[in-house]
């Protein structure tokens, strides 16, 4: 039942983008943010809130811009390398950040990401300052496509990646390493007594979550065609946490549901009113008040009832 529903949703997304070409961009972005929110959700399982994941999102997008400038002009290579860049930064930052918990973890993530933001905005000669850097359209397996075709390829690739990466992350969360995350949340000391190194468990989770945010960032950078420091601003990080909580951290689809919901809501709100922020905010309050488990929580609850 759940698989049918998920397959129907993916088919619907594919059809929606096919039917309304402009929605394709919105959906690509939503999926990109979904990846990043999934990264945040992985850490949320261990009870760690990162208000700094936009850093990895931006790092990978900047990575794509720099790699393209250095002459790497292949979509697959760009995606893989920029994800590696963000995973590497994640491993480095994670090595000291995962020693902290609760508010300290959240604040330190925020601090590190804002340092990164400031560097992007201030190093005019390198990063182009607030005007940012262009991300040109790369070739796909050596073939150069026109812009609309490339954007379609990017969208369907992201859709495919969403399913594949989603399955992999699902497996990871279901593995001992993944279950150790919730164990960290409930009783960290007992975990240490069982002989499981909490530091390593969290560092792996942190690196994976940074790589996920990086994958989102690379897709977003390619879709938008330009990276600006705002990608790394703390409000962007907050946005990712919001998506994760809104969608629900109970399962992998939650992050993507949250991202799609928020992006479509945003698109609809800006067409109606200048006060789109108000509109989005009110809807969020309503959703959070009446669906504390997130949107995905509803599906899960229903599933539990019917079985």
């Amino acid at each position: 039942m759940r698989i049918i529903l998920a397959a129907a949703a993916v088919v619907m997304l594919a059809a929606l983008a096919f039917a309304a070409p402009w929605l394709q961009f919105v959906l690509t972005l939503a999926i990109a943010k979904g990846f990043a929110a999934l990264g945040v959700a992985v850490l949320l399982r261990a009870g760690l809130i990162s208000i700094g994941h936009a850093m990895f999102f931006a790092a990978s997008a900047y990575g794509a811009a720099f790699l393209a400038r250095a002459g790497i002009n292949d979509l697959g290579l760009l995606l893989i390398l920029s994800v590696l860049v963000s995973a590497l930064i994640g491993a480095i930052a994670g090595s000291f950040l995962v020693r902290y918990r609760a508010i300290f973890f959240a604040m330190l993530n925020l601090a590190v990401s804002m340092v990164f933001y400031a560097l992007c905005a201030k190093l005019y000669g390198v990063t182009g300052g607030t005007d940012g850097l262009p991300v040109p359209i790369p070739a796909v397996f050596g073939i150069v496509f026109a812009e609309p075709v490339f954007k379609s390829i990017l969208f369907y690739l992201s859709l495919m990646l969403m399913v594949l990466v989603g399955l992999v992350v699902h497996r990871y969360l279901d593995s001992p390493l993944g279950h150790a995350l919730s164990a960290v949340h409930s009783n960290e000391i007992r975990l240490e007594y069982l002989g499981i190194p909490v530091w390593a468990v969290l560092l792996i989770a942190y690196t994976i979550s940074a790589a996920l945010a990086g994958l989102g960032g690379a897709i977003a950078g390619l879709a938008i065609g330009r990276v600006v420091p705002d990608f790394a601003f703390w409000t962007a990080s907050g946005h990712l946490v919001l998506i994760a909580v809104l969608g629900g951290i109970g399962g992998v689809p939650g992050a993507f549901i949250g991202a799609l919901f928020l992006e479509l809501l945003h698109s609809a709100a800006v067409t109606v009113t200048d006060a789109w922020n108000l509109f989005v905010g009110i809807t969020l309050i309503v959703v959070i008040m009446f669906m504390p488990q997130g949107i995905y929580g509803l599906f899960e609850r229903k599933e539990a009832q019917s079985s």
């Binding site: 309304a20 479509l264 200048d274």
Partner: protein, 466 residues
């Protein structure tokens, strides 16, 4: 039309949530309904999006996507633009619209960031009714939209976006900026300053901390150094955009005691800075240049003798503007509707709309009265020469606009309760701009002190002269 599609999908999404809520209370599942609803929504959007529109038929209305800041701190600059667009479109429609077709604008808020703006741009471009986009205010937005405009082949007219990077490669086919760029805008201040105060030795700069502030500092400094090599920059301060407090910066400026303080702060930042700097004597100890000073003339009491300008020719009280009955009418209508006279962002927007209208008319004249396509409109903008409310804008081969630059000093008169601009100069647009394709900063460094000799002098731009 696309909006209907979205609302349908949204209604469906909401009904989905409602369904799920009810499910929780034990009602029978209705998943199929949910999937069917979603597909119906997709289909509805699809039908709307793929309905063919014959380009040569006259549409029921001329759609314009107008991109500006309508929320956040940058709305201080963006709202005067939006107000002017509202008024100008009403005026155009009162005269029968464009080719007999009324104009309607869809406003897009740039405060939502590049991602949201691009999504909106694509949505509007997907509707064949929206043939031209007026985009945008922020340079970052324009730089992000430019490649998309080229790819989607939608004529996109920048009403502000004055970064010199925008059209620098000279390859733009669909991106136009009938409004000048940062290079002539800030060179003009250097020339005016050296004409007015030839013995300047020390200069301090206080600009907002983002690309516009840094670019302006670079251009202004380079021009000063080229025209008067012994000038020394004694302080360069970049307060954060939206700072409420400038006391530290003002202390630095007053202790450095520079001959000249240059600033391109704007909006609430500029108002705050002026209010805090005036009591501390900055305006008496140094010659202050406020590059965007005209925008606050009606709001804060600026002392006499501050060098201000309008980043172009768009001052509603300039001799050319006063001589044009259209401009006088526009300014009065603006005042009666919005309670203030137009500031130069308003005039930039109004002029841009005139530019777009002229392109429609030229394109229709060229193809024998048929409704023009997007490509024909872009063609009509190429190399065009359009009379605006405040002067003439000439489109160069690289799609950059040549507009004159007006600079002057604040001056109290009995005619107005607020200071106006006096001792004005009007530099010809092409005299301050490098040739198309030339690197602007390299060009500035080649300027010689003699360069300024051939240009008009302060006070030369008066009523009755052009």
């Amino acid at each position: 039309m696309a909006f209907n599609g979205i609302s349908i999908v949204f209604a469906r999404c909401l009904s989905l949530l409602q369904l799920l809520f009810r499910l929780d209370r034990g009602l029978p599942p209705a998943n199929r309904r949910l999937v069917v609803d979603g597909l119906a929504g997709a289909l509805a959007i699809g039908l709307v999006a793929t309905t063919p529109v014959a380009a040569q038929d006259k549409p029921s209305s001329v759609g314009l996507g107008v991109f500006t800041f309508t929320s956040g701190p940058a709305a201080a600059y963006g709202m005067p633009g939006k107000n002017a667009a509202d008024l100008m479109i009403d005026e155009i429609n009162a005269k029968g619209g464009i080719g007999g077709v009324p104009v309607t604008a869809t406003y897009v808020d740039e405060a939502q960031g590049a991602q949201g703006v691009i999504a909106e741009y694509r949505r509007l471009a997907g509707d064949a009714k929206n043939q031209v986009m007026v985009a945008a205010l922020s340079s970052a937005t324009c730089l992000a939209l430019a490649p998309i405009a080229e790819q989607l082949e939608v004529p996109t007219v920048g009403w502000n976006c004055d970064t010199h990077q925008l059209l620098i490669d000279g390859k733009s086919k669909y991106v136009f900026r009938p409004n000048g760029n940062t290079v002539p805008e800030f060179i003009a201040y250097a020339i005016y300053l050296l004409d007015r105060k030839p013995d300047v030795k020390t200069v301090a700069i206080i600009n907002p901390d983002y690309a516009f502030g840094h670019d302006a500092a670079k251009i202004f400094t380079a021009a000063l150094k080229a025209l008067k090599p012994d000038i020394e920059i004694v302080a360069e301060l970049y307060p954060k955009l939206g700072s409420p407090n400038y006391q530290t910066e003002i202390s630095r400026l007053t202790t450095a005691r520079p001959d000249v303080v240059f600033s391109n702060l704007w909006g609430a930042d500029l108002e705050n800075f002026v209010r805090q700097a005036t009591p501390r004597g900055l305006f008496t100890s140094s010659q202050v240049i406020l590059a965007l000073g005209e925008t606050v003339l009606q709001r804060v009491p600026l002392p006499d003798g501050v060098i201000v300008g309008v980043l172009g020719d768009g001052w509603w009280m300039s001799p050319d503007a006063k001589a044009n009955p259209e401009t006088v009418k526009f300014a009065e209508a603006y005042k009666s509707r919005f309670g203030e006279y137009p500031v130069f962002p308003s005039i930039k927007m109004a002029n841009t709309l005139i530019y777009v209208k002229a392109a429609y008319e030229a394109a229709m004249q060229k193809n024998g009265g048929k409704w023009p396509t997007r490509a024909e409109l872009a063609d009509a903008m190429k190399g065009s020469k359009v009379a605006t409310l405040t002067g003439i804008v000439q489109t160069r081969a690289d799609n950059d606009g040549l507009v004159d630059q007006i600079v002057g000093v604040t001056l109290k008169t009995s005619a107005q309760p607020f200071p106006v601009i006096g001792d004005m100069v009007r530099y010809k647009g092409d005299s301050l701009l490098p040739q198309a394709g030339q690197d602007p900063l390299a060009w500035i460094s080649t300027l010689k002190p003699e360069f300024a000799k051939g240009l008009p002098k302060p006070g030369s731009y008066k009523i009755g002269e052009r």
